[in-house]
Every structure is written in C-alpha cells, then in structure tokens.
Symmetry: C2
Subunit: 195 residues, 2 copies
Amino acid sequence: MPDERVARQLAFLAEADKLKTVLRRTPITDGSRAENSAEHSWHLVLFAMALAEYGPPLMNVRRVLELLTVHDLVEIDAGDTFAYDTTANTTKAARELAAAERIFGLLPVDQAAWFRACWDEFEGNVTAEAKFANALDRFQALVLNMKSDGGSWRSHGITREDVLRRMEPVRVQLPQLWPVVMEVIERFGAAGVLG
Amino acid sequence: MPDERVARQLAFLAEADKLKTVLRRTPITDGSRAENSAEHSWHLVLFAMALAEYGPPLMNVRRVLELLTVHDLVEIDAGDTFAYDTTANTTKAARELAAAERIFGLLPVDQAAWFRACWDEFEGNVTAEAKFANALDRFQALVLNMKSDGGSWRSHGITREDVLRRMEPVRVQLPQLWPVVMEVIERFGAAGVLG
C-alpha cells in the first residue's frame, strides 16, 4: 500500500482531472466545441514559454508556468465565470475561496500551503510573474476568439469597449503585443462582430 | 500590424491549439470520454509539480515542466500512437520527426531550435529531467486507468505483463511510487480486467 503522503498527492491529482470537464465560453480554434479549463491552462503555459521575452527582464519563468498550471483549479467547484458576466462575478471570489480550501486541502499540509500560495499569487496580481500570467490569460482568449471567427464575442453581444477594457492588462504588461489586440478589435469591429 | 516575429509566434500558438483535438486511448477519470493530448500535457505538468520530490535532488523542475508541455505537440500531425500498438509504433518515429520539423518550424528560427531541443530531450530520455518526465507520462496513464475502472486496459485486452513492461520507467525513476503500480496491477488482475 502507498503511504499516506503519496495517497494524498494522488487524491489531489485525480481530483484535478475534473478540470477537463469545466467548459469556458471561448471555443477552440476550429470552432467545434468550447475550450475546457485544463487544456486552456496547458495552452497558457505554452504561451508563456513562447512569449516570455515580452515579460520583464528578471521575471521567474518557472513561477509563471506554476501559476498558470494552478490558476483555474478552483473552477472544479466554482465553475468558469464568464468574464463579461457582471452578476456572476460578484459571487466569484467567495465561491473560489471555498474551492481553494477544499481542493488544495486534499494535499499533504506543506504542499497544500505551497499550491494555495500559487493560486493566491495569481489572484493577487501583484508580482511580475502574476501580472504576466494574468495578461496572458486575457491575451490567449483574444487569440482563440480571433481564430474562431469571433467565438464568445459573437455569441454574447460583446462590444469593442468591453474587449478594450478586458485587454487592458495586455496593453500595460505586454505592450509589444498590443498592436495585435488593436488590429483584432478593429477588424472584428468593422465586420460587425463587436458592437 | 504585428511584426514578423510576433506573427510567427502567434502562428505556432494557434497551430498548437489543434492538440486539443488529438484523442488518446485513456479516458478521463469520470469515464465520459477519451482524454485529449493537450489536457493530458497539463495534467502531467501538475503531476510534476506535485511529485517533484520523488525526482533526483538536482533535477531542474522548470525543465521538466517545459519538456512535458512540449512533448506531445508532434501528435498534431502524427496522431497519438497507442502504447500497446506494435505495428503503429514501427512508423511512429518517422511520422513524429516530420511533424516536429513542420510545427516547430512555424516559430522564429531561434525559438524553433529551442522548442525542438525540448522535444528531442524528452524523446532522447537521457537527462534526469527527461527520464522523470517520461516516467510521469507512464504513471499518469495508470492513474487514469485506475480511476476509470480499467479504462484503456479493459477495452484493448491488456495483460499484467503488458502493464508491468510499460511501467518499468516508474520502477526505475520513481521507486517511491512503485507500490501504487503494484497494488493497481494486482487489483485489476484479480478483478479480471488485466489478463
């Protein structure tokens, strides 16, 4: 029989598998279905690896990868809250806090604290690594919406101003990628996808 | 308009999205559907973070996370080759090599070489980081099959000897997790799931 520590680690890893069934509003690029939060997290890690050069010079890339891997785990209990749903966003913090307690609490105590600190750091959005990770989280959704012909913008009546506000962290943290954002908003605005 | 370098990075990241549609033989833990290779890669990164203590003392964890994030990208062209399909495995290397050339070749030249080196390192299975990553790749499939009541073993007539051979890297690289493997093989053997 595996020892208690291994058993707790495996309980956490098996529970984490459920993130594969949490659906986001953004479709995958072929438009065939909604993206789930597990594959979204993988995609963000790949974004971080490919776009790390646009982060600040002393950024700890390992930490960015860790934050992005962990950042959505609370959605297993709390669900994905659509970025443009203002009602759901008022209860989001409380729902996610309870989820963090339960899900990270499956781990051995030392690791529960470490994983929780990853999630807190991402949510706090204060460190260079968290700011970079949060900006990528916004930017990746734009890339998927761009590639799926408007994606969640089209189906939810989103405006140029909504997207501009949502992408503000990209303007601040990833200025070299801002021309992409502006070009996409302009194009989908002109096409009538963004109101 | 974004500059050429950004455009190539985005072309690669958009292409990588297709890994979300490559299906593996192993089901997710609720048994509802096959796991895809993108969410599988995310799960492996989380495995590496939670189980890093079982790797060698000087292991570079950042490198492990990078290898695991990149290791299945070639499946976008080459498909997932079932571990126990000996015929498909004879052509796997050539198919994956061509895929690596094309997919990493979407990136700017310096990054194409760096990502290709990640994939080569994982496949080479020589460095401590690659050995740890490869062993986790085997172990995660066992955990999913265990949690989904036999998963791909049940549907493909797999034997105890097949699984023992497949899990050999776990015995060598992750000896502290070997009791889990033995217990699972014993249990599913006794239940008649493994021949």
